[in-house]
Structures are given as C-alpha cells and as structure tokens.
C-alpha cells in the first residue's frame, strides 16, 4: 500500500494509536474529576458524588452534559478570536504531550511490530518541554482576552509561575539525561527496563521534578492563577459552557500526562517491577505482555494523579512571593547542585 511514496499502513497504525491515546487521556481526565471529588470526600470524611449511577460513576457524564448545554457567553469587549483560542490552546497543548511517551512494550500484529509510541523522536523529552512551555499561552491569551482585571492578573501569575518552574524542572531533568545519555524516551525507559529505576539514583531530582510538575499543572499548593479568594475565579472567570470545561479538562489531562512522564522518567516507565518481561512473553505471548506493561504504566501514573489530589486536599496555597522564592531561590540552586553532583559522580565512576 504505497501511494504518494507514503506507507499507508504505517499512517493508519499511527492514527489508530493517536486516537486511542487521545481517547484514553480524555477518559482518564473525565474520571479524574470524579476521583478528585471522591478523594476530597474521603479526606474530608464525606461520601462524595453518589447519585448518578452506581457509586456516582456517571457523574462525569452528567457534568459534561451540563457544561455542553450551558449558555455560552463571550464578553462583548473582548477579543473574540483570542477568547476562543485560549481554551483551545490549553486543550491542544495538554494532549500533544502524549505523542512521545512509550505506553507499553511493542505489540505484534500480523507480523508487524507495532511500538506503543506515536513518535520515538531523537529529542523525546525536549519535545515534552517544548509543548509544556507552550501551555502558558492558553492561560495568558484566555486571561487577557477576557478583558477583566482579575483574569489578566491571574494569567500573568500563571505565566510567570510556569516560566519560573520550567527552569528548575529542566535542570532536575538534566541529571536524568546524564544518567541515560539520551533524550529519547524509549531509551530512557530501556535503560530502566529490568534494571534499577532512576528514582534510586535521583531522589532529589525526582522531588524537584514533582514539585515543578505541581506548579506546571497549576495544582495546589501552586494554584495561584485560580485563587478564588484573591482573584474571584482566576483566568477562566469570564468563561462558561464547554470553553470553561476545556480549561478544567486540560488541567486534569496535564495531571495525568505529568504522572505518566514522572513514571517514565523515574519509575521505569512501563516496566513491571520484579518481573522479567522477556521470559513472560514466551509464556503468554507478546501482545499480552504489552497490555500488562501498559496497565503497569497506568497504575503508576494514576498513583501520581492520586498523590496530586491528596496534596490538593491537605496543603494550603502558597502566597505569590513565597512561590517565587521557592522556585528561584530554593529549587533552582538545589537542582543545579543535584546536577553538578550527578555529573561528578558519573565522571568519577567512569574513571
């Protein structure tokens, strides 16, 4: 099937994969909202949503339906194009990140090895960074286009917070990259596959990365862009209907994806702990192993999503100067130190 010098099976394979991943992210994000309420309820000693369906399991659908049917309001004095572009960008950038993540071991369909990864690019993790750094625009444009002082303030807060924490995030990541010697996500996972996970070498790096991930996804204690007692409702104050839904949704997708990335970088990716996948594959077949590895990754990622929620319902919010102080004066020097020590140790061991 070659037409226009394009391998169409390849295209179809990737398209299916993309569709699957996007759907997965959406569904996970949907049920993360449910999870969030249940976790909150558990921590606050309540029951949480329990009316729609068994255990309230249909609650996300009901929420979605509600958001779709609400009246759509676009402020008159706002820039309409940018107002719509804001949530769109937030959603798109949230979903784009998933492209380079290896979701599981390769499958074998009809004598064709199908890697569960959309694009195994040479620059892997940098691509994630590139997309994450664009996530700012969704917030900034939305906040500015709302033509509302609170929205603008929140947008600026959000942007400066994300730009600041990106630095520490990148620095903490460099240590991991020095360990693996590659930016490629599949190589990073491959190094940890059936070996020691990176978390053993990089505990401080992981903690920094985790804190920065909290800040990047605007979760408590870093949810200053949405601080309702200071800024009413933050950058999406003027939004209603599904545009608001997109903003809220993007946050949950970001949470899920950052959980996946943390699992990939520090917790062995789709590696099943204490199990040799190669010998397992001989027993139950390659495709089943791929499924199992994928499920392992999901468990790891969902654990991080849970930790995110746990933190949200236990820790109070930072003040903005405290946030900047932590980012620039604590995390960045710490990340630099971590990087230098790692570099020295690596050089020393190689000698």
């Amino acid at each position: 099937m070659y037409l226009l010098a394009i391998d169409w099976i390849f295209i179809i394979e990737k398209l299916v994969l993309i569709a699957a991943i996007v759907t997965l992210s959406m569904v996970v994000a949907m049920y993360a909202t449910y999870g969030e309420r249940k976790v909150a309820a558990f921590i606050q000693d309540r029951i949480g949503p329990n009316r729609a369906g068994p255990f309230g399991l249909l609650q996300p659908l009901a929420d979605g339906g509600k958001l779709f049917f609400k009246e759509e309001i676009i402020p008159l004095a706002s820039s309409k194009f940018l107002f719509i572009l804001g949530p769109l960008l937030a959603m798109v950038t949230a979903l784009l990140t998933s492209a380079v993540i290896p979701w599981g071991a390769s499958m074998n369909i009809g004598n064709r090895t199908v890697p569960l990864q959309v694009a195994d690019v040479n620059i892997g993790i940098l691509y994630v960074f590139g997309v994450v750094s664009l996530g700012v625009y969704g917030i900034m444009l939305g906040g500015w286009a709302s033509n509302n002082k609170f929205s603008l303030l929140a947008a600026i807060r959000g942007a400066s917070q994300m730009v600041s924490y990106e630095l520490a995030m990148g620095l903490s990541l460099i240590a991991v990259l020095m360990l693996t010697g590659s930016l490629q996500m599949s190589v990073i996972v491959g190094e940890q596959y059936n070996a020691v996970w990176n978390i053993a070498y990089q505990p401080i790096g992981f903690i920094i990365f985790f804190i920065c991930a909290l800040a990047e996804t605007n979760r408590t204690p870093f949810d200053l862009p949405e601080a309702e007692n200071e800024l009413n409702f933050g950058y999406h104050q003027e939004y209603s209907s599904m545009k608001l839904g997109f903003y809220l949704f993007a946050e949950y997708i970001n949470m899920f994806i950052s959980g996946v990335i943390m699992a990939t970088l520090y917790f062995g990716g789709y590696d099943i702990p204490f199990v040799n996948e190669a010998s397992l594959a001989q027993h139950i077949g390659e495709n089943w192993v791929a499924l199992l590895t994928f499920l392992t990754l999901m468990v790891k990622a969902l654990f991080f999503v849970f930790v995110f929620m746990w933190i949200r319902w236990t820790i109070p919010r930072f003040r903005f100067d405290q946030l900047m102080h932590l980012g620039w004066k604590r995390l960045i020097p710490l990340a630099l130190l971590n990087m230098v020590i790692t570099a020295v140790v690596i050089l020393w061991l190689k000698k």
Binding site: L4, A5, I6, S79, L82, V121, N122, I123, L126, Y127, F129, G130, S133, L134, V136, Y137, M140, L141, W144, L152, A155, I156, A159, S160, V163, E166, S182, L183
Partner: protein, 166 residues
C-alpha cells in the same frame, strides 16, 4: 513533487504569511501570535533538514519563553489600537524604500544560490541530532561555546544592575 517538498512549500507559505501578519497587524497581541507561528514554521523547516534539536530549542526558547515575556509586556502596558503614534508619512515612505532596497539586495544575493539542488534533507544526515551537535560543540566549537558564557554572565549582571531597587 513528493510529500517533503509539499511540506516545505506549505511551511514556507505559513512562515511568510505569519511574518507579514506581524508587520501588518494593528493589534500587538496578534503580532506576537504571528511571530510565534513564524517560529513554528521555521522549526518545521529545521525538522525537514533533520535538525531536530535546533527545531525544538527554537520552540522552547523563543516561542516558549521569550514570546511569553513579549506578551507580558504588551498585556501589562495594555497596548492597543488607540496608542499607535507613528504617523509621519515621510518616515513611512523612506522606510518602505529602504526596506525594498534591502529586499532587492537579498533577492540579488540569493538568486543564483544552489537552491535547485537540495530543497530538504528529510531523515538523512545526522548532523542536526543531539549527539553530533553536542560533540561538535564540545570539540571543534568549544572556544566560542565557552566564551559565550561570559556573554551570559554579563547579561545576568546587567539584569541585576537594571532590575534591582536602588
């Protein structure tokens, strides 16, 4: 015309179109957006040349950091259509003439370069990949690479000097 050439021309049209948008747009926010799109299109060109690292760094640094600061300034200063000041017609005419002259010179300069030979270099050659780039930077180009640290240090000191309260 194969698919890479198609992509090349598509990206070129996007780059030029959005670059024109930067200049012609009355609202500075749209100009910034145009610039971001231009950066993306140029990154696309880099990818066509298999210079992946350059492409993504272009996006991270320019689109992800610098343009955010641009937007910051524009939003905080609340620049909008009403504050346009440049109205001197002669200045505009002179600017147009000077710009066209520069354009002519560049056209003349580029007209007989070997553009017909190799439009894109998709997937071939690993010169733009991280590994070879890093090796080059730390062997052949180590002197300028290290010296540029002085540049950044001086810029940092400058930021402190300018930014800190007296």
């Amino acid at each position: 015309m194969n698919i890479t050439q198609l992509l090349f021309w598509l990206l070129t049209v996007i780059a030029i179109g959005s670059a024109l948008m930067i200049v012609t747009s009355k609202n500075p926010v749209y100009s910034v957006l145009g610039l971001i799109v231009t950066f993306f299109a140029i990154s696309g060109h880099y990818i066509l040349m298999n210079a992946q690292f350059l492409a993504i760094v272009n996006i991270i640094v320019y689109a992800g950091a610098i343009m955010v600061l641009f937007l910051f300034v524009i939003m905080l200063m609340n620049l909008s259509r009403a504050t346009e000041t440049l109205k001197n017609k002669w200045l505009q005419i002179v600017g147009a003439i000077a710009g066209s002259c520069l354009f002519l010179v560049l056209i003349a300069a580029l007209k007989n370069t070997e553009i017909k030979k190799n439009l894109v270099e998709m997937g071939t050659g690993d010169i733009g990949l991280v590994k070879s780039l890093g090796r080059e930077l730390f062997t052949t180009f180590v002197v300028p690479f290290e010296i540029s640290s002085v540049l950044f240090l001086s810029a940092m000191i400058g930021a402190v000097v300018i930014g800190k309260k007296e």
